[in-house]
């Protein structure tokens, strides 16, 4: 029964959560409910070491995220370290705390790409979702600064019940802001988003309508920008290869230096995570128990074990299996072959039909 673990492939991407501090309080945030505090955060020099080690392991893409990365005063130093290590750096930001001068300094330090989040097309709706008055106006001003500097620019919109009907307007807004790419991302129900699922879950018809609207925009070539959009798990028939498979392509470093196979992995009880404070990154990737737990296919039970797609979707999302099946080694209920697949659709329908409760804002 026991197959020796496959050798670890070289990772391509590192998600660096520089801080959990964030001025916004979006209810769809997939950060953990137990947010790490400022006093626990890695220093810029620690990050520089992590970036060098990551590049030496084969990582090419670095996502600087959080929380809000701009909440760190040493962000420019961190970006410069990324460039020095040879990594392609992508800043994932809410724009709050970044003025034109600071952005220009980041560009000079070697920042490659900016990804700005928008919460809605209408300012009042956007500020209500973000839990921050005036956020939307600041984001629009920031977008103008990004394009004025000639930085590569993506707009990211997490869609859910309150904003998904405006998807056409959102894509038009991203295009008018000069984005080269727009990501329409459905809320992923981990952390704060899981807590808010009854407020966030769209109805099936909302999802279908949004998908059709985006498809029409693409077909007509209405705007000069690339549109990325995926079917949300709760309404899918096949699971997604979460991050290209557990411990295969990506790794995530938390603000305090814990190395996670994905940003929600700490929702799985019993996994042992290692910190960059105690181990070299390559040692963690190759040997940390949390990475070995679900790497490859040896951990799979039925029906994944005998599935022809086992090495394509890698059994889907372990954190979703944990959240819905109570067992991280179960088949992701997003898969039609999971005994819980029907239940997942029922949960979505129940959440989406009920009167949405008030948001439980992140960190408040």
């Amino acid at each position: 029964m026991s197959t020796p673990p496959a050798p670890a492939p070289a990772p391509l991407a590192l998600l660096a959560e520089l801080t959990h501090r964030c001025p916004l309080a979006c209810p769809y945030c997939s950060n953990p409910l137990a947010l790490e505090g400022r006093e626990e955060e890695l220093q810029a020099a620690d990050w520089a070491r992590v970036f060098r080690e990551a590049a030496a392991m084969g990582v090419l893409q670095l996502h600087l995220s959080g929380g809000e990365p701009a909440a760190r005063r040493d962000l420019t130093e961190i970006v410069a370290a990324a460039r020095m290590a040879g990594l392609y750096s992508n800043l994932i930001t809410s724009a709050i705390g970044l003025d034109g001068a600071r952005l220009a300094a980041l560009q000079a330090a070697g920042l490659d790409h900016v990804q700005l989040s928008l919460q809605a097309a209408d300012a009042a709706d956007a500020d209500r979702i973000a839990g921050y008055a005036g956020a939307h106006a600041r984001k629009l001003a920031f977008a103008r600064q990004v394009t004025a500097l000639g930085l590569a620019f993506t707009v990211n919109i997490v869609v859910h019940r309150a904003n998904i009907d405006a998807v056409e307007t959102l894509v038009a807004l991203a295009a008018s802001l000069g984005a080269g790419r727009v990501e329409i991302a459905h809320a992923q129900y981990h952390g704060w988003a899981l807590k808010n699922r009854p407020s966030l879950m769209p109805t099936r018809s909302q999802v279908d309508h949004a998908m059709a609207a985006v498809e029409a925009i693409r077909r007509e070539g209405r705007y000069d920008l690339a549109i990325d959009l995926v079917v949300p798990d709760y309404y899918a028939r096949r699971p997604k290869p979460c991050l290209g498979g557990w411990g295969r392509r990506s790794l995530n470093v938390s603000p305090s230096g814990m190395v996670l196979p994905c940003h929600a992995a700490q929702t799985i009880p019993g996994l042992e995570f290692w910190s960059v404070r105690d181990h070299a990154l390559v040692e963690i990737w190759n040997h940390a128990p949390a990475f070995l737990a679900f790497r490859g296919t040896a951990w799979m039970g039925a029906p994944c074990r005998d599935c022809a797609l086992a090495e394509q979707d890698w059994g889907g999302c372990r954190c979703q299996a944990m959240a819905l099946a109570g067992d991280a080694a179960a088949t992701d209920p997003a898969c039609a072959l999971s005994p819980l697949h029907g239940r997942m659709a029922e949960i979505a329908a129940e959440d989406a039909q009920a009167t949405p409760p008030a948001y439980c804002y992140r960190g408040r």
């Binding site: 070289a10 391509l12 090419l60 590569a152 620019f153 080269g180 790419r181």
Partner: protein
């Protein structure tokens, strides 16, 4: 944008696109937002000349000098690659 963009007169890498040597995988790649595009064969020699100064004809001449193949054949390869990179918005 209904038709794919034409080959630029003096192609250069689009904003946010960088040529990089991936030492781990022994490959030349283009790094772009959420994308890593592997460059095979003479693609690196072509992309290196996408610097905003060289016209496609000059790139073809340079490649013809590097490789001992008929210019027509090289012209076809270069044109195909530039068209593909333009369509994928990796050059402007």
């Amino acid at each position: 944008m209904s038709s794919p963009p034409a080959i630029p007169a003096r192609p250069k890498l689009a904003p946010g696109v960088r040529l990089h040597h991936d030492a781990t995988r022994q490959a030349w790649v283009l790094l772009a937002p959420e994308r890593v595009v592997e460059l095979e064969g003479p693609a690196r020699e072509i992309v290196q000349r996408c610097d905003g100064r060289h016209a496609p004809d000059q790139i073809i001449d340079a490649l013809a000098a590097l490789y001992t193949a008929a210019r027509a054949e090289i012209a076809a390869d270069v044109t195909d690659l530039l068209a593909e990179l333009a369509a994928r918005r990796l050059i402007v």
